[in-house]
Every structure is written in C-alpha cells, then in structure tokens.
Point group: C2
Chain length 201, copies 2
C-alpha cells in the first residue's frame, strides 16, 4: 500500500488525523479533496495556519485571544468595563456575543477546575481575575462557566474568592427555549423550579 500512496499525501493525512474528531478516513477524504481543489485552497489554509500562530496573543486584561493588546473589547469605551463575564473558553465569548444582549466585557479562564485531569485553580486565569477585580473599577462579575461538574466547581471557587468584595452572579438555570417538560432532565427541571420567576403581564 505504501507504494500506491505518495509520502506527501500520507503526511497530510497524518496531520489531519491529529485534529480532534477527524479519523483516518475523514483525513484521507480531506486530503484527496485538496488535491483536486485549486492550489489556492490548500495554500490559503496553510497561510491561515501560519497567520494564526504568528498574530494571535492573549489580551493582558481579559486573557481572550487577540491580535492587539488590549483586545478590542477591553479597549472599547462604549462597553461597560465594570461588568465582567467570566467564561471557560474563547469560544464561549463568541456564543455570548452572538446573543447581542451583552455590553460588558469578559474574562477568559482557559479551562475549568478538573482534578481528574490535574487542572487546579492555578492553571486557570483565576488569579488574574482576582487581581483585575481588585485593581480596576469592576462592579459585578457574572460567572458563565459551563453547566457541568467542572464548571460548577470553578464557579464556586471563584465565588468564594470574590464574594463580599463585589457582586457575583451566575447565568440563570432553567428550561431551554423549545424544550418539552416530558423530556427535560430532572436536574434542569429542579433548577427551573428553584429559579422560578414572577410572571409579568
């Protein structure tokens, strides 16, 4: 089989296979797709990969990924710099921005506390958050970690570090839009009961 597959093809298949969620078959399919595609598609992807590694850095205020420091969100005077939303990953920032309902700023932890994988508070940007709250005019911290054991442990850890000094809130728990009571898991339903809100006209 080695005979029939040129080394540069095998190499690209191997590189694609190292990406998460891409097995050897998908990797081969992507490689053969790029072989048939115009040169600028493969080379465009290669350039984008170089760019990424050369240009991206972490914002010194919020630790989000950025090409300029401080990042455009932290240096935007129209955003409420006193309201800080704490998320696990840069991808979470995008999700919240997409709602179009948030005008504060962010703090990216780059992970969650996970003792099994050996990730403790020191591996996350929690110290930076505490320093930020102490040194800048922050009014409220909204904790928006994932709804998981790790996310909840991280939320609780941060709450213990900050409460008293500042208002600490977290995202509401409850039923998702379009969800059916019959199929809602009991933890979600319990959360929705506990966080029930007054009806308004």
């Amino acid at each position: 089989m080695a005979q029939a597959v040129p080394a540069s093809v095998t190499r690209l298949i191997d590189e694609f296979s190292r990406l998460p969620g891409i097995g050897p078959k998908t990797a081969a399919r992507l490689t053969y797709f790029l072989l048939r595609a115009p040169d600028d598609q493969a080379l465009g992807l290669a350039d984008a990969l170089h760019d990424l590694k050369e240009r991206i850095t972490y914002c010194s205020i919020c630790a989000n990924l950025t090409e300029q420091d401080p990042c455009p969100v932290c240096s935007d005077e129209k955003r409420d710099q006193g309201l800080v939303c704490v998320v696990e990953e840069p991808l979470n920032v995008i999700a919240i921005e997409r709602t179009g309902h948030y005008r504060g700023v962010y703090h990216v932890l780059h992970g969650a506390i996970n003792p099994i994988e050996g990730i403790g508070p020191d591996q996350l940007r929690i110290k930076e958050l505490v320093d930020r709250v102490a040194s800048r005019p922050v009014r409220e911290v909204i904790i928006a970690t994932n709804v998981s054991l790790e996310g909840d442990a991280t939320a609780m850890y941060i709450y213990n570090k900050l409460h008293g000094a500042i208002r600490v809130t977290r995202l509401a728990r409850g039923l998702s839009v379009g969800s059916d009571l019959e199929y809602a898991d009991s933890l979600t339903l319990a959360g929705a009961l506990e966080g029930r809100q007054e009806m308004q006209e």
Copy 2:
C-alpha cells in the same frame, strides 16, 4: 461579534469551513484546538499542505497521484504490468492495495460519467486508457468503478471501447462478508444470484 474574534481566527475558521463535511462549528472547534496546541502542530499541517501542492503530480501512465513519474507501481517490475485495474479515484487504489490480493497495476479515471454534473467521457482519463491498451502489452482490464449508476455507466462505456481488443472483466457483485439475506437489498441479491458460483470442497 467581530470585535471578539481576531481576524486571523476568523480566517482559519473560514478556510476550514471550505473543506467538505466541515461546517462552521467544527471549523471553529478545530481552530481553537490548534490555538491551544503546540505551534508545531499548526505549522506541521501548514507545511504538509505546501508539500502536497508542490510535490504531487499525476503518473503519465496510470494517472494516479505520485511524487515520481512513472509512479512506484507502474515502475515496479515485480507487478504484473499486463493486468490493469480501472478505478474512479486515487482513494480506490488504496482500498484495493489494502486487500493485499492484487499484483497488477492501475488506471485512475478521476471521476465517473455523470451527465447531471456535466461529466462526460472526455473529462475522464478514458482516452489515456484506450491509448495505453493499444500501445502497451496489456492482457486484461479489470473494471472496478463504484457500484452506482455513474460507475456502471462508466464501466459500460469503457467496455464498449475495449472489448474485442482485450479481455475486459469487472469486480464480482454479490453479498458482502457478514451480510444477512434478510437485510440485503434486492439489487445486491439479484446480482449474487446471477453471479452464483460452483461450490467447491
């Protein structure tokens, strides 16, 4: 949202999204994975993409992808150069090589006849196959196009071009290993009946 996502991140997400089977969410996931991975992973992928486009060419005999011309299979004297297996795509060569049961050579068509997509015989390497059979000591052509309308149309077209001049065979149709009669589709079952073989001890 644009604010929160650096341009080089957006660009890589866009480039990944252009690959088949990769939507915007997977593209974002791959991009953020590479951001956290060691630099050499992203740069290794970039180099592999460059290599592919720089080194790969088509074999002048069999039209398979290769880094040297003729390709290692066509220039291997231990392989039976008189037996030519015709396949649609380079990936099909790998599938046949993987069986370990084929010692002949290949001819890659780079597609199948598909009038709906405007692919006729002239867009495929069929003329090259006919010339090859005429000018080289080819004994038998095994047609191994896919079992589909397009593959069968291509097989029939090639058969009409070559039969009389040379022995033309095609891969056997029948039940796959592990298949259950109850769930076999009727076309497969009909093919298996038609191609029934004498039992041997």
